[in-house]
C-alpha cells in the first residue's frame, strides 16, 4: 500500500452522454489511498454512470481516469486483480450456495483470501451451504461484498450498497466496511442516504446533474451552512410568513431559505431563535401549521445547494 496522501483514484473532466441526456457533465474527483470517499446525490444525478466509468465498465465520452496510478487502456486485467466491485442490483445465480458463489469469484483472482476467511468476514458462516435464492436482502448484499473482497482488493467500489436494506442490516454492512478501512483499504461508494455518507465517509462529493456541487468532509460541508441547527416552519392558511429580512433580524437566526411554502431558518442557538420566531408569528396574528428543528445534516447541505431534497427526484 502507498502512503495516505497518494491518490488511489483520479479523474478529470469526465463527460458521458446518453443520446440527448448529459449524465456526467465534466466531473473531477481525487480519492486518496486509505480513505472512504462518498458520492452523494439524488437518483439520476450520474453517480452510477460515474462509478461505472471509474470501474472501467463504461467508456467516457471525454475525460481521463487513473485508478491506482494506471489507466484502463494500459491493461485492464492487471488492474482488475486489485479492485473489488459491487454493482447496483446484481442478482447472483440463485441456485448456487454461498460457498460455491464465493469460490467461483475466488477462481478469477490470482491472489486473494480463502473462501472460509471471506465467508467468516461477512458473517455468513451459518449460511455457507444455503442457496443464494434463500438469502435475505441483507445476506445477499453481504455476499456481494464477499465477492468483491475475495481478491483482497486495494480499492473497493460500492454502488448503493445498502439501498433497500433494513436498519440492522445496514449497520452490519457498515461495520464490515469499517474493518476493511482499518486494514488500509480504500473505498469509493455512492449513496443517496445522507446518514450513510455521514457514518462512513471521510470525504463526500455531493453530485447533482452530473457535476460535483460540493466537496469536503461531512463536518466541513455541514459547517458551510453557517449554523448547526435548522428550524423549519409553515403557517396555516391564510397566514403569510414574515419577510426574509424580518426573519434574518430575529435573534440567533443566521440564514433563511424557502421551499414549497415551508421556511427554513439556520441557527446555532435554537433556544433563542424559536421563542423569537413564535413571538413574531403571534404578533402577526398567524397560526403555525408546522414547526420542527433538527441538527443540520448533509441533506440540508444538498437542499441549500440544489434547492430541492435528495429524495425528491
Amino acid at each position: 500500500m502507498s502512503t495516505a496522501e497518494c491518490a488511489a483514484l483520479r479523474c478529470t473532466g469526465l463527460v458521458k452522454r446518453y443520446g440527448p441526456v448529459l449524465a456526467v457533465d465534466g466531473l473531477d474527483l481525487d480519492v486518496r489511498a486509505g480513505e472512504c470517499f462518498g458520492l452523494l446525490g439524488p437518483n439520476g444525478a450520474g453517480k452510477t454512470t460515474t462509478i461505472e466509468i471509474l470501474e472501467g465498465l463504461l467508456e467516457p465520452d471525454a475525460g481521463t481516469v487513473e485508478v491506482l496510478g494506471h489507466r484502463w487502456a494500459d491493461g485492464a486485467r492487471r488492474l482488475r486483480e486489485r479492485l473489488g466491485i459491487q454493482l447496483q442490483e446484481t442478482r447472483l445465480e440463485e441456485k448456487l450456495t454461498v460457498e460455491e458463489t464465493v469460490r467461483l469469484f475466488r477462481a478469477f483472482y490470482r491472489e486473494g483470501r480463502s473462501v472460509d476467511e471471506v465467508v467468516r468476514f461477512v458473517e455468513l458462516q451459518a449460511k455457507r451451504r444455503s442457496r443464494v435464492g434463500r438469502l435475505s436482502g441483507g445476506q445477499r448484499q453481504r455476499l456481494a461484498v464477499a465477492c468483491a473482497l475475495v481478491g483482497r482488493p486495494d480499492l473497493l467500489f460500492l454502488d448503493e450498497p445498502t439501498t433497500g436494506l433494513d436498519p440492522q442490516s445496514r449497520r452490519q454492512l457498515w461495520a464490515l466496511l469499517e474493518v476493511f478501512r482499518r486494514d488500509g483499504g480504500t473505498i469509493l461508494l455512492t449513496t443517496h442516504y445522507m446518514d450513510e455518507a455521514e457514518a462512513l465517509c471521510d470525504r463526500v462529493a455531493i453530485v447533482d446533474r452530473g457535476r460535483v456541487i460540493a466537496l469536503g468532509s461531512p463536518a466541513e460541508l455541514i459547517a458551510s451552512l453557517g449554523a448547526a441547527h435548522v428550524i423549519e416552519f409553515a403557517l396555516a392558511e391564510p397566514g403569510v410568513p414574515p419577510s426574509d429580512d424580518r426573519l434574518r433580524a430575529l435573534p440567533g437566526v443566521s440564514d433563511v431559505r424557502r421551499e414549497n411554502g415551508a421556511v427554513q431558518l439556520a441557527s446555532d442557538v435554537p433556544h433563542l431563535a424559536v421563542p423569537a420566531l413564535l413571538a413574531a408569528i403571534a404578533g402577526d396574528g398567524a397560526r403555525l401549521a408546522l414547526l420542527t428543528t433538527h441538527s443540520a445534516t448533509l441533506e440540508d447541505v444538498f437542499v441549500a445547494l440544489a434547492g430541492r431534497h435528495l429524495r425528491d427526484t
Binding site: L57, E81, T90, E93, L96, E100, F105, A107, Y109, C147
Partner: protein, 345 residues
C-alpha cells in the same frame, strides 16, 4: 470438494449446478424426448395393418353397396349421412366416400396420399365384387425387419432434434438470464477471461450430451429394437460435432438478446423452420428439387443425414464428411460471430 481454482472448471461447475438443480430442465432434456419417441413409435408401429376408412353416402342403394364391400380385406366401411360427409373427410375419419350409382362416384381429396390410396383400394374391391377377374394373385413380402421401419428412420432425427433444442435453449437461456440479472456485467468487473466464460457454456453442454443421447438411444433400443448399424463411436462423434455447431449458434443467438422473451422469439424463429425442413419427421425429399441445396445447408439437416447414415447404413467417416463439414462451418462461423457481437452488459 470441487476446490479447483481454475476459472474454467468453476464456470463449468456453475453450468452443471444450474442445470441439475432445475428439475424442469431435466424433464425437457431427458423425459420429453423419450415420451415423444414412445408416442411416435406407437403411432406408427401399427401403420402397416391400419385399414382404409371408407364412407358410403347413406341414400337409396347404400345397403347393397355396403354388402358388396363387406368381405373385402383391409377396408373399414361405414355409412355416413349426407350432411356429415365433408366434416368426416376433413377430420380424417374416412378417406374416401362412395356415392351409390352406376357407376359409383368416389369423393376424396387427391392431395392426401391416404385418400388416393383409399380410392384405389375401394375401386379395386368394387370392381372385383362386380365380376372383374384378376390376371394373377401376387405373392407379398411384408417389411418388418428392424432397420427398415419408420421408427428406425425417426430415432436418429429425434436425436438430432434433441441435440439442437438442448444446445440452443440451454445456452441461450442461461446467458440471457445472466445478462438480465446483470451477472454478466458483474463477471466482467473481475479479472475473468471472457473466453473462459463462453467456453464453459460449451463444455457444460458437452458434459450433458452423453447422458442425454444415451437415454434416448437406449430407450429406442429397448422399447423398439432400434439399433445403430455403424460405429457407436462415430455416432457419438457426430452428436458431439452437432452439439458444438449448435452451441455456437446458441451463443450467437444469445449474444445480443436483452430479455428472455426476445430470446424465446429468436429461438422459435430459427428452430421452427428446422423442425419442418430438416427431415426430422418426414423426409426432405418431399420438398421441390429447387430448394434441396438450401435444405442440405441447414445444420439440422446435415446432422440428421449424418446420424441416419451411421444408424441405418452403417456409414463410415468418409461417407459423412460432407455433412461433418457443413456442421463444422456452422460451428466456427457462429462462434466467431458470437465472440464479435457478444454484449456483456
Amino acid at each position: 470438494m470441487a476446490a479447483s481454482t481454475s476459472p474454467l472448471v468453476q464456470l463449468t461447475l456453475v453450468r452443471i449446478r444450474e442445470y441439475t438443480r432445475e428439475p424442469e430442465a431435466l424433464f425437457w432434456v431427458f423425459v420429453f424426448p423419450v415420451l415423444m419417441t414412445l408416442a411416435l413409435g406407437i403411432a406408427f408401429r401399427s401403420q402397416q395393418a391400419a385399414p382404409v376408412h371408407v364412407g358410403i353416402e347413406a341414400v337409396t342403394g347404400s345397403d347393397a353397396l355396403a354388402a358388396m364391400l363387406a368381405g373385402a380385406p383391409g377396408l373399414d366401411v361405414r355409412q355416413v349421412p349426407g350432411d356429415r360427409i365433408d366434416a368426416a373427410l376433413r377430420d380424417g375419419e374416412i378417406e374416401v366416400v362412395v356415392r351409390p350409382g352406376t357407376p359409383p362416384v368416389y369423393r376424396y381429396d387427391p392431395s392426401r396420399p391416404e385418400s388416393r390410396l383409399a380410392r384405389l383400394a375401394v375401386d379395386d374391391a368394387l370392381q372385383r365384387a362386380a365380376g372383374r377377374v384378376d390376371r394373377w394373385a401376387p405373392a407379398e413380402e411384408a417389411v418388418v425387419t428392424p432397420g427398415s421401419r419408420y421408427i428406425d428412420w425417426l430415432v436418429p432425427g429425434l436425436v438430432g432434434l434433441n441435440v439442437m433444442a438442448t444446445s440452443l435453449w440451454g445456452i441461450g437461456f442461461s446467458i440471457v438470464q445472466a445478462r438480465t440479472r446483470k451477472l454478466l456485467k458483474r463477471l466482467t468487473a473481475t479479472p475473468m477471461r471472457q473466453r473462459d466464460f463462453l467456453l464453459a457454456q460449451i463444455t457444460g453442454r458437452l458434459l450433458f450430451l452423453l447422458p442425454e443421447v444415451a437415454v434416448l438411444v437406449g430407450f429406442a433400443w429397448i422399447a423398439f429394437d432400434v439399433r445403430i448399424r455403424g460405429s457407436l463411436w462415430l455416432f457419438g462423434a457426430v452428436t458431439l460435432l452437432g452439439t458444438l455447431s449448435f452451441a455456437g449458434l446458441g451463443l450467437l443467438m444469445a449474444s445480443r438478446a436483452r430479455t428472455v422473451e426476445a430470446m424465446s422469439g429468436l429461438l422459435n424463429v430459427i428452430m421452427l423452420p428446422m423442425w419442418l425442413l430438416s427431415g426430422v419427421f418426414f423426409s426432405t425429399a418431399n420438398f421441390p428439387a429447387a430448394v434441396q441445396p438450401l435444405l442440405q445447408a441447414i445444420p439440422l439437416t446435415a446432422l440428421n443425414d449424418a446420424l441416419r447414415a451411421v444408424t441405418l447404413e452403417g456409414a463410415g467417416p468418409a461417407a459423412i464428411a460432407g455433412e461433418a463439414g457443413i456442421l463444422a462451418i456452422w460451428g466456427i462461423a457462429t462462434f466467431a460471430g458470437a465472440l464479435r457481437l457478444f454484449r456483456w452488459q
